[in-house]
């Protein structure tokens, strides 16, 4: 345990010095502020408090941003050690490869938590100042916060796996961008195209829900929208997936970090320094 903590402490310090903390916080704060400003138009008599509205738009933002930040922090985690030549020495210390990965994970999740707290916190503050009913949206914001961390952990694990597989930072960066494009952008586009082509047939009823659950980013979006009852208002894929219950999305979201980390450990075990 002390070894994991020491590993995490050292990694966090490195992230701080490499300005990763600053970059992640700046990104989250900037985008949150833009969203708050865009969402500050009067919500009218529809009933939803302003914070709940902001949470819905933060969710669609987080789907893109959280995996991106997570992959940016993790692609270098092992390939960088290999390239710097620091890995052989570390591996002769009495700590397991799983402990090394867990230490890095703890540090990177902490960086993510700081960035998310800053971004979401600011958005919440802005919403609350414009609408004193906004406190009603706090549970949804909290749900968004911790599920964002889970989503981040999934992509941190995936990033470590890619980092271990490619062994060179440049190669790992390419793979990470590919993964992000594939899972976050192309996957949804593909599903949308399939839905349109299928036009309510077998694919829409039998395959599509599973396809949504199989992608951690979609599961994250579904969970947050379903849990806040905003699915009906949501556009696009999530609207089409309103038959999927929140618990199913949550199960998928809970299993993914474990799978990603197991993958990372397996890939790391195969690295010979």
């Amino acid at each position: 345990m002390m070894r994991i903590i020491s590993m995490a402490q050292t990694e966090f310090r490195i992230a701080l010095r490499n300005r990763w903390v600053a970059v992640a916080v700046a990104m989250m704060v900037l985008f949150s502020l833009v969203l708050s400003a865009a969402g500050s138009a009067p919500t009218g008599a529809l009933g939803a408090d302003r914070l709940s509205v902001v949470v819905a738009s933060l969710t669609s933002l987080a789907v893109y941003l959280v995996p991106l930040v997570a992959l940016l922090m993790s692609f270098d985690a092992l390939a960088g050690e290999v390239e710097r030549g620091t890995l052989p020495l570390l591996l002769t210390y009495p700590l397991s490869r799983t402990e090394i990965l867990l230490g890095k994970l703890v540090a990177h999740v902490a960086v993510l938590a700081i960035a998310l707290a800053a971004g979401y916190g600011l958005a919440a503050l802005a919403a609350w100042m414009g609408d004193d009913r906004a406190l009603a949206g706090l549970p949804a914001l909290w749900r968004l916060f911790w599920s964002s961390m889970v989503l981040g952990a999934v992509f941190l694990g995936a990033g470590y796996a890619l980092s271990a597989l490619s062994r060179r930072p440049s190669g790992a960066a390419g793979l990470a961008i590919g993964l992000w494009l594939g899972l976050i952008v192309l996957y949804d586009l593909g599903l949308l195209a399939a839905l349109v082509a299928d036009d309510g047939g077998r694919f829409t009823t039998d395959v599509f829900p599973w396809a949504m659950l199989a992608n951690p980013a979609d599961a994250f979006r579904l969970f947050n929208l379903a849990a806040s009852g905003a699915t009906a208002a949501a556009a696009g894929l999530s609207g089409a997936a309103n038959s999927i219950p929140a618990w199913a999305a949550l199960t998928s979201l809970a299993l993914w970090p474990l799978a990603a980390l197991a993958l990372a450990v397996a890939a790391f075990r195969r690295v010979t320094p």
């Binding site: 020491s6 590993m7 050292t10 310090r13 010095r17 052989p88 020495l89 002769t92 009495p94 010979t272």
Partner: protein, 299 residues
């Protein structure tokens, strides 16, 4: 007590024999130097001992356990060649981290850095260190927790002469307390004075092993005798005629003879003492002995 035992160790890198039937053991308190040309397999042998890479044949036992097992890693310190650290950390932070990984309090970092002469730079980032200073951080981490076996790959590379001496003094202290030390080096003279035994690898095979005296005897290289005549050029000619196999080299008459002929030749020279101003006997140098053993087949 034996800290490290290798028997019939063989390692192949796709077709290339990096190590070939190497057997070796290092006892507690023993300092063993691993010598050999570039690419002889020294670093490969060390990485196998550390469990960083797998071997193909033979057995390796480190502190009575398998290489890379928790038990072995607990008691073994390693200094890799070209040791590297994250440039954003300070020397003290890096050593504190390594201390905690070995379950020791981080407060010992300063004392370790002082011991390798880095006390003043302890709080500067390693990225700003010179090569020798980085090497000393590597030494400091290898000293953590009085290891039972130290595996040091070219530990003195990049160190200035004074720090080299200090470093070997530290090793002497550790060996006296029972630490087994296996180090590789290309600096023959320091290895000669500071280790108990030498192991010479050549092309992955162990070609010689033993204390320097043993190796000197086994190599049986000729002794060079240089005689300065008392009266040049007259005595020179006499000496050249009287000593078969001798040659003139500048003002001296030089001949080489096998170890077991040495006394006979010296006796003959002594008989010519009125013709001789001075005599100089040069035993084979360390480099001679080393290259005698390290010459690869066909070279």
């Amino acid at each position: 007590m034996t800290m490290l035992t290798l028997s019939h160790l063989t390692k192949r890198f796709d077709g290339l024999n990096a190590l070939c039937d190497v057997s070796l053991s290092v006892a507690a308190g023993e300092r063993v130097a691993l010598l050999g040309h570039n690419g002889a397999g020294k670093s490969t042998l060390m990485k196998i001992v550390l469990g960083l890479i797998a071997h193909d044949e033979g057995t390796v036992e480190v502190l009575g356990a398998a290489p890379g097992s928790t038990r072995a890693r607990d008691g073994v310190a390693y200094l890799p060649e070209n040791v590297a650290f994250h440039p954003a950390l300070s020397g003290r932070e890096q050593i504190a981290h390594y201390l905690r990984l070995r379950g020791l309090p981080a407060s010992g970092a300063r004392a370790l850095l002082d011991r390798v002469g880095l006390g003043d730079a302890a709080n500067r980032r390693i990225g700003t260190y010179s090569k020798g200073m980085r090497q000393r951080v590597g030494l400091a981490q290898a000293l953590i927790g009085t290891p039972r076996l130290m595996v040091l790959d070219e530990p003195t590379s990049g160190l200035d002469p004074v720090s080299r001496r200090d470093f070997y003094a530290i090793l002497d202290g550790l060996a006296a307390e029972g630490t087994a030390i296996l180090l590789s080096s290309h600096a023959l003279t320091e290895v000669e004075a500071r280790t108990d035994r030498m192991v010479i690898l050549s092309g992955g095979a162990m070609v010689a092993e033993g204390a320097l005296g043993d190796l000197r005897r086994r190599a049986d290289l000729p002794v060079r005798i240089a005689v300065t005549p008392s009266d040049i050029p007259c005595s020179t000619t006499t000496l050249l005629m009287a000593l078969p196999g001798s040659e003139q080299e500048g003002e001296q008459v030089v001949l080489s003879c096998a170890q077991d002929e040495k006394l006979a030749v010296l006796g003959r020279i002594a008989g010519l003492s009125e013709r001789i101003a001075d005599i100089d006997i040069q035993p084979p140098s360390l480099e001679d002995i080393y290259s005698h053993f390290s010459r690869r087949a066909g070279q």
